[in-house]
Symmetry: C2
Subunit: 223 residues, 2 copies
């Protein structure tokens, strides 16, 4: 790996880790807000949600000064700040390629819309799917319409929800529309050109982490 | 957080990170194997799949000595070792609770079976679903059958694929069957007792990481 590629990969990983933690904080704050809590200290936040207080303070300080010493953070204000940092203050339009069970599940996944992601279009090649809508109302287009629909709807994120053998082709297709951010649900490694961010949501990795836990026989020991 | 709880959380996080990396290595080795490659060095592995060679050596050394100096790793042997470490040398039986689009997609997700996970049962409460099978042949039982089916089929992992408002109830239900490993796909935080490992597969977090990337305007800069 070249030094610049290494730097890129490292920056990338750090940015992924920070983004994941900010997402978690945001989720915790929503729960506090729903519970009617107005202010929270980093240690209370950490205690309540099994997080690390020092890490919270460090992560937030990195993006500016939010808290008030001795009072803590305003739940509403911190939520707003985190949404801005995460780019969730403007809604993002998302396209999903593949209208199988996974694509359909993702299209109607309520969490996406709540967090500011509009799933505006699904794509498939099967005649019995094209022209229909999901239960949630997302239209299913033919893949050959991808470029046109992406540009017309200002879609900035593409989701790969096709079988592994079609995934690279679909990724190339998404890249060719000018989309710079891809979420891949198919197992296996995809290649994207520099300037495009690929995030793998490999469902098997999560199961393997549980398998690892069960294999170590930690149940009742570590946790 | 108590010192022991902190230690637990830290161990837990480390174990998750190692498990994720081992999963990635295993996936890369499968690709090399399919391509007819017999031996590979850590640096070749790192180079080809955009990984870190030192990290690979460290991760593998932690579990014993696998490589041969100057030759590298035998692809087949390392695959076998990794599968053992990850507990994938014996097949694990998995139950999914929730037979909506997500549950159905997960039940027939080919990656699971390939990696040694048998999805043996789906559970739901809707009369029109109970008694049916998925396209891949997984039977859908009524949730009230959970304990019986889990014990009869030696199910060790439970997957939560229900809407957020039912998720904690389902998690409690899974825990009550004696299952020690839970994969949660619903948005939001779940509580499980000590001795039970909970892994969140929050689909929104992946999208938020892409949003963060787009918000920073890194496209064409960092990567």
């Amino acid at each position: 790996m070249s030094p610049s590629a290494k730097r890129r990969a490292a920056t990338d990983q750090v940015s992924d880790l920070i983004a994941s933690r900010l997402s978690v904080y945001l989720r915790c704050l929503s729960l506090l807000d729903q519970a009617g809590v107005c202010t929270v200290s980093s240690s209370a936040l950490a205690h309540q949600f099994h997080l690390n207080a020092a890490q919270i303070r460090k992560d937030l300080a990195y993006f500016g000064e939010f808290g008030v010493r001795g009072v803590g953070y305003s739940v509403l204000e911190l939520q707003r700040h985190l949404r801005t940092i995460l780019g969730l203050d403007r809604r993002l339009n998302v396209a999903i390629i593949g209208a199988g069970n996974l694509g359909l599940a993702l299209a109607d996944y309520p969490g996406f819309r709540q967090e500011g992601f509009n799933i505006v279009a699904l794509f498939d090649t099967l005649p019995e799917k094209v022209g229909k809508r999901t239960r949630g109302g997302v239209p299913i287009h033919h893949v050959k319409e991808l470029r046109r629909v992406v540009s017309r709807n200002h879609i900035t994120i593409g989701v790969v929800a096709v079988p592994a053998n079609a995934a690279q082709l679909v990724a190339n297709n998404i890249v060719s529309t000018g989309i710079k951010a891809i979420l891949n649900f198919s197992p296996g490694t995809l290649r994207v050109p520099p300037g495009v961010k690929l995030k793998n949501a490999d469902l098997t990795v999560s199961l393997e982490s549980l398998s690892f836990f069960l294999a170590r026989g930690d149940a009742g020991e570590e946790k």
